[in-house]
């Protein structure tokens, strides 16, 4: 088990290295010139010959491997970064300075994490809170009108494009109904500033994300549950004289949860890496929002950092899923 985790971490590390290299390559060999974009923005489109200075300052005149080497060194040992006349100290783990704000990327990443984590935790909670019970209920009533109504209405919900769904949520909850407790978009406040404000600021995002996502979980749960309930061991449980509740939950759901948990783990990893649509639509300035901005600004250090961060989140969540899987299903032994 331990050896397995170590092995997975090593391969995960290699993935992160590859991701960071790919981002660098994109900036060096990609179609657009990052220095040009930044120069244009900072000089109000009067860049002209100053492009050379920007190229030099940002390191685009150096070979890619030496810049990548500096970047890697910064992660482990920290480094100094010079923009023109100013030299900034960037402590390990240094992911560089944002071209845009000249702030260390690591600090900004950490400061944006609470917002993203808040969205992720609330959304994921709603996935399970609605998805699993409704899925179980549908599976128990398989083939009945209730089941068909649930399945088709959830199918309808999930076939709406997410951004439209999120906008409709906002429109109905805040503009038309003026629901209490719900702040309008862009009012995220950290939980340390009071849980009520935190809750109000995130409520819209949670509802949109949670309800939209739970439709999938309803389908997974229903499918897994229908399969579990048709297994031979369910017939055995019934033949033992167990009450229906025990059969459905202890014997059926226990088995059905395994695939659901697997998908959930991965989904939660994706949520933690930043929900671009949700954060953008509800103006929650988390990691997703930030990475979207960075791409627009050609802000290499931020793009590299957010890409690596998503990779790490996915690798870790995959690993956790595997470990949880081996705990849930005794037949699986990690090796």
């Amino acid at each position: 088990m331990f050896a397995y985790i170590v092995k997975r971490l090593i391969s995960g590390f290699l993935v992160v290295v590859l991701v960071s290299m790919a981002v660098f390559a994109l900036f060096w060999y990609g179609p657009s010139k990052p220095a040009q974009a930044i120069c244009d923005r900072e000089t109000s489109n009067r860049c002209g010959d100053r492009i050379e200075i920007y190229q030099e300052n940002l390191g685009y005149n150096n070979p890619i491997y030496s810049e990548y080497g500096k970047f890697v060194k910064g992660i482990f040992a920290g480094r100094e970064i010079t923009f023109g006349a100013t030299t900034y100290q960037c402590d390990a783990p240094c992911l560089g300075l944002s071209y845009n704000t000249k702030q260390p990327v690591t600090e900004e990443l950490v400061s944006r994490l609470p917002a993203t984590a808040s969205v992720a935790v609330g959304g994921a909670f709603l996935y399970l809170l609605f998805g699993i019970p409704i899925g179980v209920a549908a599976a128990r009533r398989r083939g009945t009108v209730t089941d068909k109504a649930l399945v088709s209405s959830f199918l309808f919900l999930s076939s709406i494009p997410y951004y439209l769904f999120a906008l409709l949520t906002w429109l109905y909850l805040t503009v038309l109904w003026e629901a209490p407790f719900v702040s309008d978009v862009g009012y995220f406040s950290p939980i340390s500033d009071g849980p009520l404000k935190w809750f109000g600021g995130l409520f819209l995002a949670w509802v949109a994300l949670g309800i939209f996502g739970c439709t999938q979980y309803t389908r997974y749960t229903r499918g897994a549950m229908v399969e579990a309930l048709s297994e031979d061991y369910i017939r055995t449980a019934k033949a033992k004289g167990l009450p229906a509740r025990t059969i459905v939950y202890k014997h059926g759901l226990r088995a059905a949860l395994v695939p659901v948990v697997t998908i959930f783990g991965i989904d939660f990893g994706i949520l933690l890496a930043g929900t671009i649509f949700t954060e953008r639509i509800f103006e929650i300035q988390g990691i997703g929002w930030w990475s979207l901005q960075a791409v627009g600004n050609k802000d290499l250090p931020v793009v590299a950092a957010t890409a690596m961060f998503s990779a790490v989140m996915l690798i870790v969540s995959n690993l956790i899923v595997d470990i949880v899987y081996s705990i849930l299903d005794p037949r699986v032994r990690l090796s």
């Binding site: 050896a3 397995y4 092995k7 090796s335």
Partner: protein
């Protein structure tokens, strides 16, 4: 099966014959057997009558072997679970088996799950790479040829699988399943494939008009017939049938067994018939080998093996089969009880592998492995105390041959006689009573 009485009328025998004659498939086979006879036309009448009762297959003692397997071994490595995965042991799935399959005859391979009988079948069709030993087929050692060199032999060496539900691709029509080998081996021009497929379906008793249906439209027995048709496509000389009927309903099993018997007779196909059902094997195979933990413990002609088994395991196995005739007497048949389960093939018992469950086992059994000794004209057994049920000798019969005393310690006084474990039978054998080599 011909459910539809009109089926036979749908294809004119002459038409069928013309097709096969044109394709002349036998000409293309590796050894180029003469007479490009139009098989399927000739034999249609006999094949269609598979509801007639069939008596058990008979032994042809003079048949040349089509396959000779000697000292075949398959060890699957067992890896440690550490960071660096070292090989910490081997599953000795097949450990030095030798036998031969006569041309046009059948050898049965029986034993309980995990004894290595299926692995042996897969080794012969080279689904696995053998660890050691040789498998002579058509003058070549199949254990030594590469997968590419194996290709021409695959035509002559086909396999029928146990589960007719999973061994057929559900997304392919029966026509493309049965015809695929023809296309792969480029034997028949594209426009002739359908004709051949229909002949084959007819041969195995299916309606040839059903070539465009999918496997799920057929019952279990019919699917097994499709699997058989697929195996027949390339006119094999040897069919490895791995539990070909055990997934079928009882009334259907007999249909398929009879079909295989007919096909064997008509097309002179040799069978390695692997099954756990001792009664079916007894009916189909004039010669039977019993495997236990990767080794053959006894091999003999049917009458000897079932009538006078000499190995305690064979005796236990046969006595365990419930017998319908017991109804006339009532109660359970007298049986030899085997306690416990088969030991792990990763770490098999020393000496004789069966000794841990054998009621005759003595010290020698743990020390010296009994050789597979020929004790009759067509009878070999691997037991220190080989004897008929109730007449096992009190002292080991093998001591002089092996140069050991009754406890299995080397005596040094008598030099061990080399014991042959070749695939076939010798003209001289070891007589259990006189403990001397004798001949008929």
């Amino acid at each position: 099966m011909t459910n539809d009485p009109n089926v036979e009328a749908q294809i004119e025998p002459t038409e069928v014959g013309a097709n096969s004659a044109e394709t002349g498939e036998r000409d293309l086979s590796a050894d180029g057997v003469e007479e490009p006879h139009d098989f399927y036309a000739d034999h249609e009448v006999q094949i269609a009558s598979d509801y007639e009762g069939h008596v058990a297959s008979r032994l042809d003692p003079n048949a040349e072997p089509v396959l000779e397997v000697e000292d075949l071994k398959m060890y699957f490595p067992v890896k440690s679970s550490g960071l660096i995965r070292r090989t910490i042991g081997h599953v000795q799935a097949v450990d030095g088996v030798s036998f031969q399959v006569p041309r046009g005859g059948s050898l049965g391979l029986v034993g309980e799950s995990g004894c290595g009988k299926s692995t042996t079948g897969r080794l012969i069709t080279r689904l696995y790479e053998p660890t050691g030993g040789s498998m002579m087929f058509e003058g070549r050692d199949l254990a030594k040829v590469s997968q590419r060199e194996m290709k021409p032999y695959r035509r002559e060496l086909q396999m029928i699988f146990q589960d007719p539900y999973t061994s057929l691709n559900p997304r392919h029509t029966v026509g493309s399943i049965v015809g695929a080998p023809l296309a792969v081996h480029n034997i028949v021009p594209k426009n002739k494939i359908l004709g051949r497929v229909q002949e084959l379906l007819e041969v195995v008793g299916l309606n040839p008009e059903h070539y465009n249906r999918y496997p799920n439209e057929f019952s279990g027995g019919q699917r097994q017939r499709i699997g058989i048709a697929r195996a027949l496509t390339l006119n094999p000389k040897l069919l490895v049938a791995d539990e070909p009927v055990s997934a079928l309903d009882v009334s259907i099993q007999a249909q398929v067994v009879n079909l295989l018997q007919d096909l064997q007779k008509e097309f002179d196909i040799a069978f390695l018939f692997i099954a756990h059902d001792l009664a079916i094997v007894r009916h189909f195979c004039p010669e039977v080998a019993v495997m236990y933990l990767g080794k053959i413990v006894e091999i003999a002609d049917r009458e000897t093996l079932y009538g006078r088994p000499h190995h305690p395991y064979t005796q236990a196995l046969i006595s365990a089969v419930p017998d319908v005739k017991q109804a006339a007497i009532g109660g359970r048949r007298e049986r030899i009880r085997l306690e416990g389960d088969v030991p792990s093939p990763i770490n098999p018992p020393s000496g004789c592998r069966f000794r841990t469950r054998c009621s005759y086992a003595q010290e020698i059994c743990a020390k010296v492995e009994p050789p597979l000794l020929q004790i009759g004209k067509r009878h070999k057994v691997a037991c220190h105390f080989a004897g008929e049920l109730g007449a096992h000798p009190a002292t080991p019969v093998t001591t002089e041959l092996l140069g050991v005393d009754d406890q299995g310690n080397a005596t040094g006084t008598t030099s061990p006689t080399p014991v042959t474990t070749g695939p076939g039978y010798e003209n001289e054998w070891f007589d259990l009573k006189t403990k001397q080599l004798t001949s008929a």
